[in-house]
Symmetry: C2
Subunit: 349 residues, 2 copies
């Protein structure tokens, strides 16, 4: 597997090039261990796991092109390595943590795509579309079991991963339940509920990645806990930025249809913030329909939903920054982490 | 939750009453810890988990009657407690192992029903039928994560559970793949492949239950490993007996339709054994069809498939018995385990 040029995916501004290099370096360092871990699986499941991880190589079995088979950005593995470095240890110390969190992330994508009925993932058929729902459920199970297994010789780390898994599942449950709730009235979803969901669904594993890396790097629990919270803030910011891109992002860059989230009636932060204002009732009538999505997007912006979302994402990034300032850690690694946080949320924030 | 009279489910012969008492006692001992563990889950997931465990209480939300909400026999939790007692420890020592293996078993039932498209479980809608596929995938994930979490303070036990999970997933993968293979020709499934699948899919967790209990009870690894193998032999015997019941069992007792496995074209031991004989080609033509199932059942019996299956199940039980003889352990607990092994496979063997 060659390292794809992640810098391209983030954009070509000078400040994002550093983040691209961090991600590419992490991928190179972690790939052998990740490939070794996947190779221990049942051959059929290993094939599905490689597909889900984007380790398709040149032979994608007619299920996508070589270019399509590129994996994700590998943010979690990079955070795990940076966690170890923040602790003053070599990046390699964080590799077991990196493998575990990437496996958990892949498990959650595979199962979430089934739950959400998402047919596409990274520009090619989601695993359940390519192999069937049953096999995809099983492959997800195998990835989860493998992730847990990789940390079985590090009990403290295994406990932390277990706690993150608990949050991850809670966040996904909240997400499925929020989708069923109305836009207005006493049962309406609040921005606070959204943030709790986002912290669990996205932040817990990002926090776990940093914290696990630091834990394996050997720092004390106070620092580990602070880094966990850095990742949780990043998760909420990341999710809000994702929402902004889902409404106003360039489909060429995001790979998602224009206004897709609005047409599907997804409970996103900008919309929830906009509903909590004078245009609320009017906006509520436009949501979840195909032909009113553009008008809804305009109304969300006019009602201040976009501004509120940007402000909230910035607030979480600032909180992450302050936490990072508050703990003694490698200045070089902290600088790298800041580049990464910034690049991951830069395009819209 | 009151303890259902499991003895009834096993039959009323005197020799099965002892097994019923063992299962009922295990359920009483483990239920509080299992209920406590499930109560830590997200409320919605806890509701689904309780449904899947059969802890429906009187309020089953219109999804079944109170009688239907009875859980499984709880064989795995009973084996975990017996494991501890075989080690000379009190049964209570095995409770954390019992909770973990029951949670893993429930996870696997929830996900397997999705994979196999089975709409009924224990006489009422399977979880995915009652709550939807997505939520059932999530509930299974939560049960698996919870199972792993319950053993996070016992690293040795966590490693053993992890290895069993790996086998469980492999067994399910084999099962799904065997179903796609032809009845005859060079790609035909062999009885040996079936047994490998059954040992992984069913035996690994039964073996893990006994072994984990013994491990928590404090015996050395040689005895733990032997007990693991006892459970694996039980698993294969249990699966073969299940196959026999799936063809010749009383639908009133099994809760399954007559000849259901034959109509669905399931790769069962009696059929595989029968195919490996002079009636093979004739039998292969009758399999997987609704109106030829009775003729297929007759032909399987005539070709010696039933006899071969009974013989093979007995062979595995004898091997379990010999292993149990070979290790020093509490004679009382060994007697109880023998009652249980015998009762679980008695009806047809």
């Amino acid at each position: 597997m060659t390292a794809p040029a992640t810098a391209d995916a983030l954009g070509s501004r000078p400040e994002t090039l550093a983040a691209g290099r961090i991600l590419d370096r992490a991928r190179e360092l972690v790939a052998p261990a990740l490939t070794d871990a996947v190779a221990t699986l049942h051959p059929w499941i290993a094939e599905m796991a490689a597909y889900a991880l984007g380790h398709g190589g040149t032979d994608t079995g007619g299920r996508g092109t070589e270019a399509d088979s590129r994996g994700g950005k590998g943010v979690r593995q990079a955070l795990a390595l940076l966690g170890a470095e923040l602790a003053g240890a070599p990046a390699a110390c964080g590799v077991p943590a990196a493998v575990a969190v990437e496996l958990v992330h892949t498990f959650s994508l595979v199962h979430d795509d089934i739950m959400d009925g998402d047919a596409l993932r990274r520009g090619r058929p989601a695993l359940w579309k390519a192999y069937g729902t049953g096999p995809a459920v099983l492959a997800g199970d195998a990835l989860l079991a493998l992730a847990v297994g990789t940390l079985s010789t590090a009990p403290e780390a295994a406990r932390r991963l277990s706690a993150a898994l608990d949050d991850l599942v809670r966040g996904q449950a909240d997400d499925l339940l929020l989708a069923r709730r109305p836009w207005t009235g006493p049962e309406a979803v609040t921005a606070g509920e959204y943030e709790t969901m986002a912290e669990r669904k996205t932040g817990a594993l990002l926090g776990c990645a940093l914290a696990l890396g630091a834990q394996l790097g050997g720092v004390d629990e106070r620092i580990v806990a602070a880094l966990d919270r850095v990742g949780r803030h990043l998760g909420v910011a990341f999710q809000i930025v994702d929402d902004l891109l889902g409404i106003w992002g360039d489909p060429e860059v995001t790979g998602k249809p224009v206004h897709g989230d609005l047409r599907e009636g997804k409970k996103t932060f900008p919309v929830l913030a906009a509903l909590d204002g004078p245009y609320g009732p009017e906006l509520a009538q436009l949501l979840g329909a195909r032909d009113t999505a553009e008008r809804a997007a305009d109304l969300v912006a006019r009602a201040g939903g976009r501004t509120a979302a940007l402000r909230e994402a910035r607030r979480h990034l600032a909180a992450a920054d302050a936490l990072l300032d508050s703990v003694p850690c490698s200045p070089h690694a902290a600088g790298e982490l800041r580049s990464l946080l910034s690049a991951l949320t830069r395009r819209t924030v």
